[in-house]
């Protein structure tokens, strides 16, 4: 090492952000870290579009007559909210941003296995996103994000094909990201980095990739069939012409239920890292958490039928799918119990990232347990297509996945940009998000249980109080999301330098400078330590301040 030649490095150290400048150096980069930043910018853009649609929806629902927009516009709003949030924000969020940035670093590699493919994935995402935006500008689409046939194929008078094309193209972005991660984890690990030394975040990314690789192609062909049926007027999903609309539902949910785990599994991986770092403990039950990720990925493929309990599926199939859906609660619960066991009697440092982790555990538990209500045949018949379902999946998607994403972003932001954000503001916004979230979505459980159907524009006045509460919560939630946006951007310029390891956390990513250099590691990596090798309980858990006087 040339220690003598680097005195100026602290001021002008070369890292992946300043190694080259100019738009071309970004648009043609093959550096996984720069591609992660490209994704971060693009998904944030889509998040705020999807969020804006949600704001209009909630404002409109403040009155039972729906005074703000026409019913037709309302349908387009909830469709675009769903499509953008699912396909253009949640699915790529943690994998494409945090996963892209961290997977190679965490396993001691210089890059993903296929850097050019990684860049191609981002371009596919952008192209798909542009089609969808184009469809929105051209007048929107009103089928709901689920595209149920025959409405989507025969009756809808909106831009179904254009939107479907956008999702089709973006799907390939997801497939290629998953493929890249799987090959990377198999083949690019540094010497000594055995499977059971992998951080749990990597395990969760791996499990997610399995779903992306196996599930997304089925969505692609389904969308293709929808497009062909709409164009040619043939009847694959039309009973009048010999087809079957339930066939569409089967194909659609074969991807779209596992897709829920594409969204939540990476967040679970983030939470494992956060809990361990701020409890200063090795994660309790490492192997259980690792294998529960795989179990969720595999079981997740066997539960799609629970979306069709009332769609003419046979009661026997319903019973099997109900049972399998209960089963998936087991690996999910294993994770929650292990996280709590890790926290038990730990000396926890209450900084922003773990606040999000706490939020995640609580909200995911509520979301997961209400999922069991929905997996129960008799209860599902009652609450099917009501706000109960809406509240359930928002507890998982927003309370789980977005909490995980924001927690991870707060935890790794100093690594990505080398800057600290203002801790006080971050804690305040975490609290605002938690309160706003619960105020938005808890009333929706009650609404659904009382019988308020989802996707209705005009509703019975008896539901108004709960709807107003929900809308009030949504505005709080919206503010909660804007604050981090502001202080993150602020920190890029004015934030304090983070140093290589601001949290004194374990993991290869904290052994290298922040921001990292283009090839991540200056010297070849050899891994000997277990993951989460924090001091045991007998040793002091936090660095003791130097005492000047005895």
């Amino acid at each position: 090492m040339g220690a003598t030649t680097v005195p100026l490095i602290e001021r002008t150290r070369e890292h992946y952000l300043n190694v080259r400048y100019g738009i071309k150096s970004w648009l043609l980069t093959v550096d996984h870290k720069r591609i992660a930043i490209l994704y971060l910018i693009s998904i944030t853009f889509f998040f705020f579009i999807g969020g804006a649609a949600a704001v209009v929806i909630r404002l409109d629902l403040a009155t039972p007559q729906g005074d703000l927009v026409e019913s037709e516009t309302y349908n387009k709003l909830f469709t675009i909210h769903g499509i953008i949030m699912i396909f253009f924000f949640l699915v790529p969020s943690i994998p494409a941003v945090l996963g892209n940035f961290l997977v190679p670093i965490m396993i001691g590699a210089k890059d993903l296995a296929f850097p050019k493919l990684n860049l191609l994935s981002w371009y596919l995402y952008v192209i798909g996103g542009s089609f969808t935006l184009w469809a929105m500008i051209a007048g929107g689409v009103d089928t709901g994000w689920t595209f149920y046939a025959p409405y989507s194929t025969t009756y809808a008078n909106s831009h179904v094909i254009l939107t479907a094309l956008g999702i089709f193209v973006t799907g390939f972005s997801s497939i290629l990201t998953g493929l890249n991660f799987m090959v990377t984890v198999h083949k690019m690990r540094a010497p000594g980095m055995t499977w059971f030394k992998l951080p749990l975040f990597v395990w969760s990314q791996y499990a997610t990739s399995i779903i992306m690789v196996l599930g997304t192609p089925v969505l692609a062909i389904t969308i293709l069939l929808i497009g062909i049926e709409r164009l040619l007027g043939v009847g694959i999903f039309d009973p009048a012409l010999g087809g079957d609309p339930v066939l569409f539902q089967h194909l659609f949910w074969f991807y779209s239920h596992p897709a829920v785990y594409i969204m939540i599994l990476p967040a679970m991986g983030v939470i494992s890292e956060l809990i361990s770092a701020f409890a200063r403990r090795a994660v309790f039950g490492y192997r259980f958490i690792a294998f529960s990720s795989l179990a969720i990925a595999i079981l997740g493929f066997l539960v799609w039928g629970h979306h069709m309990f009332v769609s003419s599926q046979s009661p026997y199939a319903g019973m099997v799918f109900s049972l399998l859906s209960f089963l998936i609660a087991v690996p999910s619960a294993i994770k929650v119990f292990n996280w709590t066991a890790t926290l038990y009697k730990a000396s926890i440092s209450y900084q922003t990232p773990i606040l999000y982790a706490f939020g995640f555990i609580g909200l995911f538990t509520i979301g997961g347990l209400t999922g069991l209500f929905l997996a129960t045949l008799a209860v599902d018949v009652h609450v099917h297509d009501t706000y109960f379902v809406v509240a359930h999946f928002h507890y998982i998607m927003v309370g789980g996945a977005i909490m995980g994403f924001l927690g991870g972003l707060h935890y790794w932001w100093p690594k990505m940009f080398g800057k600290l954000y203002p801790e006080l503001w971050a804690r305040i916004s975490a609290a605002i998000i938690f309160i706003g979230f619960n105020l938005t979505f808890f009333p929706q459980f009650l609404l659904g249980y009382m019988g308020m159907p989802r996707r209705y524009h005009i509703y019975d006045p008896e539901f108004q109080v709960l709807h107003v509460l929900s809308s009030a919560g949504a505005s709080i939630l919206g503010i909660g999301y804007l604050i981090p946006m502001v202080y993150f951007i602020w920190s890029l310029r004015y934030g304090k330098d983070a140093g290589p390891n601001p949290w004194q956390a374990k993991g290869l990513e904290w052994t290298i400078p922040s921001p990292p250099t283009t090839f991540n590691f200056e010297e070849p990596v050899v891994v000997v330590e277990d993951p989460y090798a924090y001091p045991t309980d007998d040793e002091p858990t936090w660095p003791q301040p130097e005492e000047a006087h005895v």
Partner: protein, 212 residues
């Protein structure tokens, strides 16, 4: 370890690079199986719901041409294997010669397929607004033709992509990029080509032979 021109910066050695490329291609083929699997499943369900229509539809396919095409494709798999073998031996001329044979056979397949398509257009058997079926109408026959065009169309699309890839390989081979140590792309495209052939091996009996 000596620097090899074909070793990308982020790999330790050629062996790691080769294994990664191999695994990547296999995973990609798994995604392809899921992709085709979706339409196969839809075909199975629709066939089960419209047995008479699908059976009647099968009668309108040309088994002779289908059989010839099957033989042509299997032949192209053979030449592809020869190309991969030439790659292992570092024989650049052998690679491009065998790849050209593969392209030729792939082209023959597509031309024959084109004649079949033309015939269907002529008979009005193309699903959509122009569909008109002469003779006794059986429910589901249009659906069968729809699946026929979707499945063989997707297959042909994959073949066209494959032919493009083969041409790219020939250019690389002529530039002397393949050596005894490095012929991953030939192997990867070879896997892809065989996969596309195997799809046809399933399509042929499902569309042409079942209840003919």
């Amino acid at each position: 370890m000596s620097e090899h021109g074909s070793l990308a910066h982020h790999f330790e050695d050629l062996e790691q690079q080769r294994q990664s490329a191999d695994l990547g291609m296999w995973l990609f083929l798994i995604t392809e199986i899921m992709f085709f699997g979706g339409v196969f499943a839809a075909y199975a369900v629709c066939r089960w719901m419209n047995p008479a229509g699908f059976s009647a539809g099968t009668q309108h396919l040309d088994v002779t041409l289908g059989t010839i095409n099957t033989a042509v494709l299997i032949g192209s798999s053979l030449t592809m294997v020869w190309a991969v073998q030439a790659g292992h031996e570092g024989d650049a001329k052998g690679i491009s010669r065998n790849l050209m044979l593969t392209i030729l056979l792939g082209g023959v397949f597509l031309v024959i397929k084109g004649f079949e398509y033309r015939h269907k257009f002529h008979d009005g058997l193309v699903p959509g607004p122009l569909f008109h079926f002469e003779g006794e109408h059986v429910a589901g026959i249009e659906l069968f033709m729809c699946f026929y065009f979707i499945m063989t169309g997707l297959h042909a699309f994959h073949m066209i992509i494959g032919i493009g890839l083969l041409m790219w390989l020939i250019v690389l081979a002529r530039r002397g990029r393949f050596t005894k140590e490095y012929s991953n792309p030939v192997e990867g495209v070879g896997l892809y080509w065989h996969f596309v052939d195997i799809v046809w091996i399933f399509l042929f009996p499902m569309l042409y032979l079942l209840e003919h």
